[in-house]
Amino acid sequence: MRRTPLILAVLVLWALSAVLQTAIDPHRKQFEPKVQGLFGKMTGLPTEYIFGTMLGFREVVAGALWVRADSFFHEGNYDAILPIIRLVTWLDPHNLDVYSTGAWHIGYNFTDTEQRSDRRYLSAALKLLEEGVENNPDVYDIYFEMGWMWYDKIKQAHNAVQWFQKAYDFPDRPDEYSPGIPPARRHMLAHAWEKAGLIDQTLLTWQDILQKHEQYAKAHPKEFMAQVNVDVAKHNYALTELRQYNRYLKQPPDIQPPIDVKFDVKVRVVEPKIIEVSGTVDLGNYFDPQMQKMDFRPGRVDVVLRDEGYKSSILPTDEKEAGEVWRQKVFTFDVPDVTIMQEQIAIIKGKFKRKIDMSKDPMMYSFKAPRYVVTVRFNPLYAPPQTQDRIGWRGEGLTDKRYLRVDEVTTVDKDGKRYTVPVRRVRKHLLLTREQLLSGKGEATDYPVQE
């Protein structure tokens, strides 16, 4: 057999395979973990995990690691969970459960002894979800989770709208194995528009949801939940329309004249790192006397304590200049070494009062700054509907001689269209010093914030 032509053939074929490999490389990345040099980053993992990954069991290893993370969570070993979440999303960037549950762990479950979540981690939770969206743009799940994080945890429905819209754009999912959005989850978009104070958009969305549900029910006549969804959408649409009529359109509307809530707040340091927040939001005797007897709570006030100068737009402080310092450029578990405490206090018979203990968790409340700003506010957008029946969705029916603030809340939808509404809130800022907090004595003084 002549060798030369064979050797030439080998060279040509090998060169062709190398050319083909160059064409394959960019495509291959779509099937692989997103992180280059992942194996180097797995240092510290038990060998069986590394071998398992190399031998084609990447997703199995990711699943096993995730179960380990779950057990750490139940043991309260939160620090161990964080790197595992990172590794699992690297190993299997399409594992939706890790993004949604991981972000939930980070955003909700790292708490102090009184179950107040560590707000410094919210930025990490949001960044993880952002990564999840980047890696899984073709499923509704992570868009929805992102919307939920803004709507429920951060309580900024105006930022949730665009994410719920993106989830809403997916077709109905008839069963758990098909892509698309479960029909009932569409409702969250309408709820988000409502909590953003945009009622016309809410009504339009309910109309659209109703239409979609009716089409779905027609196509799935035997599905019980399909008809339930139609009924719920009809009910919610009618209720929102009725509320809009009662609150704004009828003469005189229920929300007029505005009630003076006589807002005031006192913050005292009662023991080292323990403060007592008390005050008044007199929402009046506007509700049914029967409900008054039932100890009906017309809402909650938000309380935030943070280092002076630390401004963040994901805290319920509403400062106009609060920037995006919270935003992570690259997902990391390193959080800023600042003290942030956020709490809600129920309003009972026009008053609120609560002791807040920050003494047991020095990792969360390091108190390294010399001064701390405490902000207390009442936000009508997230008030219960019975309260909104008197003060309106956007607080049009409340007033206050000293602490009324009219904020412009802007919702940017998924297409970039902006909707700005004025929201009337009451808000007060106070100042505490480190000495006061550590000595356990002293009362907060008014803190002038230019608003």
Binding site: M1, L6, R28, G56, G63, D92, D138
Partner: protein, 259 residues
């Protein structure tokens, strides 16, 4: 061609009667059937785990079957001296190598089909038949991946002992599955010229088994892959080219070998 087919037929018969091959096959089948029991590892995403485990088991078992079978396809004939009988007939050496390769990949095909069928039933049972049907792309890619491995084992077998061949084939397979690592070594920032050179050699000279690992798409069918069909065709083309390279070199060496 008749000679090639006859050698291939005998190779399949022989390979399928080997206990070690059957042992790997049996072990894989047991693991696939029992895989639903491992759903505790990922309770909320049972199918994710099931598919990942099943495809991983098929790939791993196929790899061992390929290597164990491939390293002995030619040496066993030499050891038993049956090769003299074969080559004394009007059979060219290249036909012998080709027949052995064809027999090897047919054996592999049967194994993958058998494991795939059982796996298909398990996935259809725990999920839906549609999800089970999605698995076929994975089986095709594993088959071509293993075809390269068979040709690699045959290539090494013409000049290495089976013992050394086993580790060589396994080593090249493992390095070959790290396509992204070799690529990042070659293209990554802050790399020395030497590192880049080593990366390029590993990436282009060794077979890229990592190209064929498409499990993630099958495990997460909702993932959208751009030019998915083109990718599979490119991979099949790559496998054919690489197999041709290895077999031609094997033929050249085998042709000069004293048998």
């Amino acid at each position: 061609m008749t000679a090639v087919l006859a050698i291939a037929y005998n190779t399949v018969r022989e390979a399928l009667s080997r206990r070690v091959v059957l042992l790997f096959l049996f072990g894989a089948l047991v693991l696939i059937v029992l895989s639903p029991l491992f759903s505790f590892l990922s309770p909320r995403e049972e199918l994710t785990l099931l598919k990942s485990l099943g495809l991983g088991v098929i790939q791993l078992a196929s790899m061992f079957i390929c290597i164990v079978m491939g390293i002995s396809l030619i040496p066993a004939e030499i050891e038993r001296r049956t090769i003299y009988t074969v080559l004394s007939k009007p059979v060219q050496r290249y036909e012998f190598v080709l027949g052995k390769f064809l027999g090897g990949i047919l054996t592999m095909l049967l194994n993958i089909l058998f494991m795939g069928l059982v796996f298909f039933v398990v996935v259809a049972w725990r999920g839906t038949p549609k999800q089970a049907l999605d698995l076929w792309k994975g089986f095709v890619m594993i088959f071509f991946q293993m075809s390269i491995l068979v040709s690699l084992a045959i290539f090494f077998s013409v000049f290495l002992t089976p013992f050394v061949n086993f580790f060589m084939s396994l080593g090249v397979y493992i390095i070959g599955t790290l396509s992204s690592v070799t690529e990042s070594l070659m293209k990554g920032e802050n790399r020395t010229v030497l590192q880049k050179g080593i990366g390029a050699v590993l990436h282009y000279l060794l077979p890229n088994f990592g190209n064929f690992n498409i499990q993630n798409k099958i495990i997460h069918p909702e993932t959208r892959i751009i030019n998915e069909g083109v990718y599979y065709i490119q991979n099949i083309g790559y496998a054919i080219l690489y197999i041709a390279v290895l077999l031609i070199i094997a033929v050249i060496i085998f042709d000069r070998r004293e048998v």
